[in-house]
Amino acid sequence: MRPIDAQQAAAALRAAHDDRALHARQFAAQGRPVVGYVGCDTPVELITAAGALPVRLAGRAGRDTSLARTYLDGAVDPQVVNVLAAILTPEDGDPVPDLIVITHDCDASLQLFYTLRELRRTGTHSCPPVHFVDLLHLPGEATRRYNLGRLSRFADQLAAWRGRAVNAAELAEAVADHDAARRARTALRKQRASALTGGEALRWYAASTAMPPRAYADTLTAALTGEFTRPEGRPLFVSGSTHDTTDVYDALEGDGWLVVGDDHDWGDGGDQPPVGEPTLEALTDHYTREVVPSTARTPQQIASAARGAVTRSGAAHLLTYCRQYDDAHRWDHPARAAAAGVPAALLRDQPYAGLDLPALTAQLAPQEAQMTR
């Protein structure tokens, strides 16, 4: 890639966010496959090493999800229902994957996998082939051994899919590329609060899941050399459900807030240390112990992480945002709020890509009044 200036880089990140199929189309035009994935602990380096572009499947506000809701009913996060709708009836701008990979990062992902598996088995609806990578996250040795087995199986499946095994050089390059993307993301996490609106930071992060990793690393690194001034707004830390679109952040920031940090995996919570060694063992350690979905963290871990992140980002308020049916985050809200030490609100039952702004104000106002008294 040619060296580009910070402004062009920022525009490229935005473009990759606004049209999540942009790079996928380029790949496809070169006759190379695209793998759509769901789950923050997807071993993307194996996909890249197999010559494919990993694109994390995202929802879109306003999409017609009625067919998806028919199959994937029950108390399932509407974000995942939206993703299912994109798979069943892709619209313009949806990446059309040659293969789908789903991990077990939360119950919604698992239910999505079961639904696709059953749709395929019963011939109810045609959709791309689906692989499920059951990575688990308890700290014990049994889990690590199990995960090693899942990763080698997945590597074998990818080899069978493309007709050739991943060799050592391919894996080394893929790990190096994704590690470069990780380092760039970490730099973004450290700079964002003083440089970008929450919505813009989330766009830059989201680009990492739709671009080739090396190109992303170079682009983001270039973008971060730009000149920034701290945006206006009351600094807020967002916890709870994931945000795969910027709708909620844009609404918050339109209301005078500034999202300076978050801990879900599309945002700062997607921060990962480098994998380092290009081996299945190193990947296993990484995806077992370094990438821990929020559902596998204890309330204590979440609370202490929130305390650190709130302090570092300078947030003066905390929001635990729970989408409808994504209630698990409510279990650790009290511990998280106490640890953060700033006025905290819990919004539950929120619709996909939306939030109840008056309720947020109503919860925070009395706490602020008490603090200034």
């Binding site: 079961y114 688990l136 899942r150």
Partner: protein
């Protein structure tokens, strides 16, 4: 399903199983003894229903099943008061309440009116991390009450052989796949030293083998009972009689009492069939209920007998007890792991759940299925679809089973009545 034990016999029209009465009485005596022992310092484990209780049994560490205890709390109408303790701490009182009730009780002020004297504080809590909430919820036992929580993974398979009910007893390795069994077996090996500490004794594989043998025998009796009920010309026992008679012994799996109790259910049902007893003398419609039970209105199930000659002939509790537990094999620890590492899939995950319902519907010769879809039901579209594909009429009802407010019982009764009237009448030879 554990909610079932909260069922109290009410209006009686058909025969009343002595086995159900005995089981309820045994349960009270057992619990009183257990309370006495824990007061004297014996350890107590609290174990989730889908976690390997047999390990505690084999090491003589008394345990209480979390969901059974929830059912007692609900039956004594204490849920509201206990859930308040969660609410007051800012914790959800409406997420997985059934698993959370014992925790809620433990967080509540102790009162004299606690059900059955109250659950003694456990020495250890064991649960699988299913769904998104379990791990966080059970961790609160540790952080709020100082009770150690031992989590187990809840692994999921990419591919499974569909006909699990045929494979599970002997060929579970094929049905489940080795990876998941390896995982739970490894986890159990890591757990054993912890239970040894509680027990003050060493783990004895022989003893576990006996426990597994007894529980397999219990499952065989349940299977015979289920097969008998499926094949009987007319349904001889109301479903709400069968449920406590089968479920209470499940909480005592691996004891001679439980195996004998399962046998006595079989003997009793078998003599009723022999006598030609029938819940409805003129049985016109055989029905199946899928989904959680309507715990707020158990009489519902019986209310179409006189008016419509319609009888619910199938319960998930007996059917699971018949198909889902037996695991034979030379290595008792591995067989135990195989009993639980895919346990919930049997009833909740397609294709297993879906195809199993179809098979049960056919073997029980049902004329229609009432499918209760609660807000957290899974894969309900596939279940309904598969049954209809198999030619079985399905009535879908959307409701929250735990909450009587979410539906109007009268309206639901009328809806089911109209649907039954639309079914072909079996007594007319259709």
């Amino acid at each position: 399903m554990s909610e079932s034990t909260s069922i109290r016999p009410r209006r009686r029209t058909g025969p009343r199983l002595a086995a159900a009465r005995d089981a309820l009485q045994h349960q009270r005596e057992w619990f009183a003894t257990l309370r006495g022992q824990t007061e004297q310092g014996r350890p107590l484990a609290l174990v989730n229903a889908d976690a390997p209780q047999e390990l505690f049994r084999a090491m003589d560490v008394p345990y209480v099943v979390n969901q059974w205890w929830s059912s007692i709390i609900s039956a004594k109408r204490m849920s509201g008061r206990y859930l308040k303790a969660l609410r007051e701490r800012g914790l959800p009182d409406d997420v997985e309440q059934y698993s959370a009730l014992p925790l809620a009780e433990a967080l509540s002020p102790r009162g004299d009116d606690a059900p059955w004297g109250g659950l003694p504080t456990p020495s250890l809590v064991l649960a699988e991390c299913t769904g998104d909430s379990m791990r966080r919820m059970f961790q609160l036992w540790e952080s709020e009450l100082g009770v150690p929580f031992w989590p187990l993974e809840s692994a999921a398979a990419e591919t499974v052989a569909v006909n699990w009910w045929e494979l599970m007893r002997h060929d579970w390795e094929t049905a489940i796949g080795s990876a998941r069994i390896d995982l739970l077996q490894d986890e159990l090996k890591a757990l054993i030293p912890r239970i040894e500490e509680l027990a003050g004794a060493r783990f004895d594989e022989e003893r576990l083998a006996q426990v597994m043998a007894l529980s397999n025998e219990q499952a065989e009796w349940n299977r015979r009972t289920r097969d008998l009920l499926a094949a009987a010309p007319r349904c001889p026992v109301p479903v709400d009689d069968i449920i406590p008679a089968v479920m209470i012994p499940q909480w005592h799996r691996g004891t001679s009492w439980a195996t004998a109790a399962a046998k006595s259910v079989y003997d009793e049902v078998s003599s009723l069939v022999g006598e030609g007893r029938a819940v409805v003398p003129e049985e016109r419609h055989r029905l199946m209920w899928i989904g959680r039970g309507l715990w707020f209105d158990m009489d519902f199930y019986r209310s179409f007998e006189q008016s419509h000659g319609a009888v619910f002939v199938w319960s998930m509790y007996l059917a699971l007890a018949a198909d889902a537990y037996a695991r034979y094999g030379d290595d008792p620890l591995r067989a135990l792991a195989a009993r639980f590492c895919a346990f919930r899939d049997q009833m909740y995950t397609p294709p297993w759940s879906v195809e199993w319902y179809v098979k049960e519907a056919k073997t029980h010769r049902v004329d229609g299925v009432v499918h209760l879809i609660s807000p957290d039901s899974r894969s309900s579209w596939f279940t309904t679809h598969a049954l209809r594909q198999a030619g079985i009429p399905v009535l879908e009802i959307r409701a929250d089973n735990a909450d009587g407010r979410s539906l109007d019982p009268r309206a639901m009764h009328d809806q089911v009545a109209r649907w039954i009237e639309s079914l072909p009448d079996q007594s007319q030879g259709c």
